[in-house]
Amino acid sequence: MLSISGLEKTYANGVRALQGVSLEIRPGLFGLLGPNGAGKSTLMRTIAALQEPDAGSIHLDGIDVLAQPDELRRRLGYLPQDFGVYPGISAVALLDHIAVLKGITDKHERTEQVAAVLQLANLYEKRKNAVSTYSGGMKQRFGIAQALLGAPRLIIVDEPTAGLDPEERNRFHNLLSEIGEGAVVVLSTHIVEDVSDLCPTMAILAAGRVVLEGSPAQLIERLGGRLWRKTVPKSAVDEYRRRMAVISTRLFAGRTQLHVIADDRPDAGFEPISPDLEDVYFSALAC
């Protein structure tokens, strides 16, 4: 159980990255959705005890993360948004090194677990190659493999699928869903499908605030019967935006499809549609 309450962070350049973020996260996969710049990475780095908030508290299973960062680190698996590796070092050697740093000091146990995470991440056959020569997807899987070392109670994966091709992403999703049992897994992403594919609970972060929280099904349910769609010429979009609550626009065959929230059909051209998570996301951002 990860409880976050009242986190505040303002950077020296005046950017208010977190403005009173509070979340209760139970074991299992938790999706944190938000556009770039919403404060996701700041939140992830703060939870991972890599930086300190100005105010607020974080507790993991009763551990005060801010007061006892080392206690958290013993229970943490962290896949940073942007990471590199030492050049010329094989996956197995690097995992071994990270395992030592994480505190797996028994050589036998370490070898076992390194072999296990390599197999889990489907990297076993390439374990003796330098990680610096891996493809993007392999590198991300290596990232999750190292996050699993030890006995993590909290696993943070920050934007793990950015830049992966569909097949790689799929493989990565499978890996994540396998580990999402028992531990709190926080998946930060700006890709809606990551969350809809994987997460039973989620929150949406925008401009440093949690704007929506719940299970994807519930949230979709709440939009039921209130979502309308119309295809209009590009030039008319601004007019519609002024008149009604347009949550998203999307180009479709050269014309623009509008998604609008309204209790009743806004005008004749609109047709009712069943909402998906993306609509929830955009409706949350639009408020």
């Binding site: 030492y86 990270i98 740093l101 076992e112 197999q119 006995a151």
Partner: protein
């Protein structure tokens, strides 16, 4: 396009913190060097020569800054992952590369150009001696900037730029800059650059290759200006000619070639890492290992090992570091070989471990600091650079573990470097057939060089933790190192101020390592180092944050959790600092240089009037010297018998006891005593004035520890016994320090035509009765005949008594000696030596016997029954003569390898020289005044040449005179006051040794050996034991045996400074019909006279000079075909030979009978 790019580059570079750091470094470098009065006292700080030296020296540091600028220019795309964006822009190859190169070069030039600004500002400092500031000329600064600094910067930048563009690796770029230093150090080692502390006198004039090797041009600069006089240094711009021009042109050309290589091989492609191994596809696992969590149990030690192994492994696998180690190994070989095999007077030494270890110390420090500077920065920022930091930082590993691992990795690289240096030493030893390796001495390098370097590594780790980034950190570490090593310049001289300082003790095979505070200081600095690593540990996870935030975190820590560790730190600092202070200031006497000088100045101010006070004469010295080697203490008791030789009664007697003496008692019967304890000065006012011819006595006793060693004690009476009257030796000799304290001229009088009375203390002839005791395993030696020796109370006792009157200069030695003996007529010759140093004992005996024979025949009987030669640890002198006893130093005599017949035989000539002093100095005792040393040192030099010629032949003499000529010409160039004439020589070794040797050798040729020796014998007979002889008396004796024309020449050589230059312009060989050859040579001759100020003018030449023909084998007696002595006149002279044999070389003045400024052009190939 190009200007846009250039402007962008300029803006980019000048906004980097490293640029600001570099500018500050060069500005301060220039400022401090001038403000502290760098250079000889009589050379202006604004003189072209000094400005050139300072700027060329500053350019040494440009390699560090250039590495940073080049990295900023070239590697920033790779470091910041901009490559793909930049390389896909349409920018052309030329503007891209040229812009980047120009940017790096322009910033380097700008930063270096701040050095002259600092220098000019420093000339306004009030602390600077005003007499050293001359007018400022723009050319003085611009010319060396253009000719010395710019070519260096162009080459350095080009080399680093090429490496950086081709490898895109900072490490490879750093290694390239280490390569530049290695070239410099090798060049310096081979040419004996004065900037290297290990500079050896007299081995100069080495080949052009060495001068070319140094890419900074410093070696060729020093070679070029080696013989420059003060006047030249103050007025001449260093001309671009000869080796210097060649050097500058060579390295500029290399720079152009390098740029060409960079341009040709550069392409806008991402550099693919060379795949060393093919992708490995392993078989799938045999058994499925299921993932199961493992509860962490972090152990710091395991993490530390893993991290340290990773760092060290990465360094060892990197090609650049391997290359660095290879380069270092080669440099170590060059350094060791050049130190061992081109020593003073071109001699060689045995490859003793002690000598190798001493040689390695300095280059090790340089290379070690380079590793700290470069590899420290590379290692420290690895996680940030490869973006592994977030992963590592999220693990529970302690910051201290990582900081320790980083520090240990740098320390391990240093240890490896030391190990390789040792390996180089062993290789040199083994290849020279020397197998007495001393492992404990080699291992001492880890302690004396490794430990300070490891401390610097800790400082580097802390500095990087507080620096904005890698390159700024590198510049800051460089700055820190330069600053801490130069703190004495700003008055912070105490070792407790200077990080990582601790004087490395001297080593002697006799007593081992000398007394030192090194350990205590290292302990103290280790506390600092631990705190520094602590800072790095604390900031480890915050390297991505701004420096201000990091400092904030540090202060918050100190105010909260850190209270306890900070308290512990201060307690430890107090304890270790207190201990180090106790060891430096309480157990030992600590005196800053300036305070020691002030003491001497005060002594002179208070007591100089005493110099004129009439003194009694010591007629007998009875003493008991008890040496306790294990306790490093000696008790000295004794009695001087004093006789009033003055015409009037003596009212009082003044004595001075040594500074370090304790438990002093001193008494003169029926007198009132006044004591000045500050200066150890005792004044006895006699109740009844001592009438002429009457005697009284001084009794004294005191305890001393200076000079007493566990094995190898040397107590000189000049330092360890009371002396009568004023001690002129306390006077400061350095004219700059005298001027600073308004002391005027020193009290050593000049020679005049009037016969002045000499100071009495030097006149005394005494009898000696000495009872010396030491520990049971040691032998004690002093002057006199050994009457009796016995053992009592487990100690050995020796009773020595003079068998004829002696000068009152003795020494008391004690060591575990082995003794070899021989007979020279009825004189017993013995050598007491360290048992492991037996190699030269027989050669020393042979030379001593031969010299006794020669001097006995030529100058008169040797007055004692014995001559004792003894080994002592000191290397301050090669040999030191006392009455019937001569000291020789272990390294400069007993470790000299004289087996190679082609080298000047240092053993034979040094022994001959010191034995000759038994006549010239101990029988002929000149007045202490200008020119006196020409009667002792110059005559000993002459005797030495005669013995050497008999034992080793004329070629050895010619070889030796060549070295003397070089030493004379280089010595007069370095003269800080005025060059005196030989007849008026003061404390100027280049005159009384080198010019003296050349002049007496020439007189021998002019008059013949018999006539010269007869004159010397007369001089000795007339002045024996009266201490009245002056150089004028010598000239008078020479006049008696020469023709007026001969004497005119001799007089000129003594009373004037004359310099010759002979040059063989052309030599034609024509076969004659009878099968013989006619050789026509043209010799240009000049003769110049220099005033003491260095101003010269031509004087007419009309002297008989040899011109000789040699075969192809070389200029030596075996290849001599014919010699003609010709009268040469100023200008061109034609000489004709007719020979049966066709000669290869025509040589003017082959035997160095004149002081020739440029000997290189005396030889011409005939044809």
């Amino acid at each position: 396009m190009l200007t846009e790019l250039a402007r962008f580059e300029w803006r980019y570079h000048t906004r980097q913190p490293s640029f600001v750091a570099a500018c500050a470094l060069f500005f301060l470098l220039g400022f401090v060097m001038i403000a502290t009065g760098f250079g000889p006292a009589n050379v202006l700080v604004t003189s072209p020569w000094l400005v050139t030296e300072v700027l060329a020296f500053a350019s040494l540091f440009s390699v560090f800054t250039a590495a940073v600028f080049v990295a900023n220019a070239v590697l920033r795309d790779t470091d910041h992952r901009m490559e793909e964006i930049v390389f896909t822009t349409p920018v052309g190859r030329f503007p891209y590369l040229f812009g980047r190169f120009g940017g790096a070069l322009a910033t380097g030039v700008t930063a270096t150009a701040l050095a002259p600004i600092g220098m000019i500002l420093a000339t306004r400092m009030p602390s600077l001696d005003r007499t050293r500031v001359g007018p400022l000329h723009a050319a003085t600064f611009l010319w060396p900037l253009l000719t010395m600094v710019l070519p260096t910067l162009v080459f350095v930048t080009a080399l680093l730029f090429t490496f950086a563009t081709l490898t895109r690796s900072a490490l490879a770029t750093y290694t390239a800059s280490v390569f530049i230093y290695i070239l410099y150090l090798a060049g310096a080692a081979l040419t004996n650059s004065p900037l290297m502390a290990a500079s050896r006198p007299g081995a100069g004039g080495s080949g052009i290759v060495a001068a070319l090797l140094d890419p900074f041009g410093l070696s060729s600069f020093f070679e070029q200006t080696r013989y420059w006089t003060v006047a030249e240094k103050n007025s001449r711009l260093v001309p671009m000619t000869g080796a210097l021009l060649l050097n500058r042109a060579l390295w500029t050309a290399v720079a152009v070639v390098l740029c060409g290589i960079a341009y040709r091989s550069f392409s806008f492609r991402l550099l693919r890492r060379k795949k060393t191994k093919a992708e490995k596809q392993e078989p799938p696992p045999a058994t499925i290992t299921a993932y199961a969590p493992v509860e962490p149990a972090p152990r710091n030690l395991t993490s530390f090992w893993s991290a340290a192994k990773l760092e060290i492994g990465a360094a060892l696998r990197s090609r650049p570091f391997q290359l660095l180690l290879a380069l270092w190994f080669i440099l170590a070989l060059v350094e060791i070989r050049s130190d061992l095999f081109s020593g003073e007077y071109g001699s060689a030494s045995y490859a003793a471990t002690a000598l190798i270890v001493e040689t390695l110390q300095q280059p090790l420090m340089i290379v070690g600091l380079i590793i700290v500077i470069y590899y420290g920065s590379e290692l420290f920022w690895r996680e940030q650079r490869f973006r592994v930091a977030p992963i590592i930082d999220a693990t529970p590993v302690g910051g201290a573990t990582i900081a320790m691992a980083k520090w240990s990795a740098i320390a391990a690289l240093i240890a490896l470097t030391i190990a390789l240096g040792i390996a180089a030493g062993i290789v040199v030893q083994a290849t020279n057939g020397y197998f007495a390796f001393q492992p404990q001495l080699y291992l001492s390098l880890f302690y004396f060089a490794g430990l300070p370097l490891a401390l610097y590594a800790a400082a580097a780790v802390a500095i990087h933790a507080l620096s904005p980034g890698k390159y700024a950190g590198l510049a800051l570490v460089l700055f820190f190192i330069v600053a801490t090593r130069n703190l004495p310049m700003v008055g912070l001289e105490h070792p407790l101020w200077r990080f990582g300082s601790g004087a490395v003790p001297s080593y002697s095979a006799m007593y081992g390592f000398g007394d030192t505070t090194f350990g205590a200081l290292m302990l103290y600095w280790s506390v600092w180092a631990a705190a520094m690593i602590g800072v790095a540990a604390l900031l480890w996870r915050r390297l991505a944050f701004r420096v201000t935030e990091r400092i904030g975190a540090l202060t918050r820590f100190i105010a909260s959790d850190g209270r306890k560790p900070v308290a512990v730190f201060f307690v430890l600092l107090g304890v270790t600092g207190g201990f180090a202070f106790y060891e430096t200031n309480v157990v030992r006497v600590y005196e800053p240089r300036s305070r020691a000088l002030d003491w001497r100045a005060d002594y002179e101010r208070h007591y100089r009037p005493l110099a004129a006070m009439p003194l009694p004469r010591i007629t007998n010295v009875t003493t008991a010297v008890d040496i306790f080697p294990a306790e490093r203490r000696a008790r000295i008791a004794g009695e001087y018998l004093l006789r009033n030789d003055q015409g009037a009664p003596l009212q009082s007697i003044v004595i001075t006891v040594p500074r370090g003496a304790s438990d002093v008692s001193a008494n003169v019967p029926s007198s009132r005593r006044m004591v000045d304890t500050r200066f150890g000065l005792y004044r006895f006012d006699l109740d009844h004035p001592l009438p002429p011819r009457e005697q009284t006595k001084l009794t004294f006793a005191m305890t001393l520890d200076d000079g007493v060693e566990k094995n190898g004690t040397v107590l000189m009476t000049s330092q360890s016994f009371p002396s009568l009257g004023y001690r002129a030796t306390y006077e400061i000799t350095d004219p700059r320090e005298r001027a600073k304290r308004a002391l005027g001229r020193s009290s050593t009088p000049e020679v005049t035509d009037n016969d002045a009375v000499s100071s009495a203390s030097e006149m005394e002839r005494v009898t000696l009765d000495a009872t010396v005791s030491t520990s049971g395993d040691q032998t004690a030696i002093t002057s006199g005949h050994l009457d009796r020796q016995w053992t009592a109370n487990g100690r050995r006792w020796f009773h020595y008594r003079s068998d004829a009157s002696m000068r009152n200069r003795f020494t008391f030695l004690s060591a575990r000696y082995a003794v070899a003996t021989a007979k020279a007529g009825d004189v017993d010759v013995s050598i007491a030596y360290h048992p492991a140093h037996a190699a030269n004992v027989q050669a020393m005996l042979a030379s001593a016997i031969r010299t006794l024979d020669y001097c006995g025949d030529a100058f008169g009987r040797y007055p004692y029954r014995q001559l004792k030669l003894a080994e002592v640890p000191s290397s301050n002198f090669g040999g030191y003569a006392l009455p019937d006893t001569i000291l020789f130093s272990e390294s400069r005599m007993f470790l000299v390898d004289a087996r190679d017949p082609s080298r000047p035989d240092l053993v034979t000539r040094r022994v001959a020289h010191e034995v000759a002093h038994q006549w010239w100095g101990y029988q002929l005792e000149p007045q202490t005044r200008g020119g006196g040393l020409a009667l002792t040192e110059s005559l000993a030099k002459y005797t030495e040449l005669m013995v050497l010629e008999r034992l080793r032949g004329r070629d050895q003499v010619r070889e030796l005179l060549g070295i003397e000529l070089d030493r004379y010409l280089a010595g007069r160039s370095r003269e800080e006051q005025h060059e005196r004439t030989l007849a008026n020589v003061g404390d100027q070794a280049y005159i009384y040794y080198s010019k003296g040797a050349l002049v007496f050798h020439a007189i021998r040729d002019l008059l013949g050996e018999d006539k010269l020796n007869a004159a010397l014998r007369r001089l000795l007979d007339e002045h024996r034991e009266t201490a009245t002889a002056t150089s004028l008396d010598l000239l008078q004796q020479l006049r008696n045996v020469s023709t007026p024309a001969q004497f005119a020449l001799i007089d000129e050589w003594f009373e004037k400074i004359v310099l010759y230059d002979f040059k063989v312009d052309a030599a034609e060989v024509k076969p004659l019909p009878d099968g013989r050859f006619r050789i026509t040579a043209h010799v240009t001759a000049t003769k110049r006279e220099a005033a003491e100020t260095g101003i010269e003018h031509d004087v007419p030449l009309d002297e008989a000079i040899d011109v000789a023909l040699f075969r192809a084998g070389g200029v030596d007696s075996a290849n001599l075909i014919a010699t003609q002595r010709m009268r040469l006149h100023s200008g061109t002279n034609e000489i004709t030979f007719v020979t049966r044999e066709k000669p290869t070389f025509v040589v003017a003045d082959p035997d160095l009978l004149r002081i020739d400024r440029n000997r290189a052009d005396n030889v011409k190939r005939a044809g």
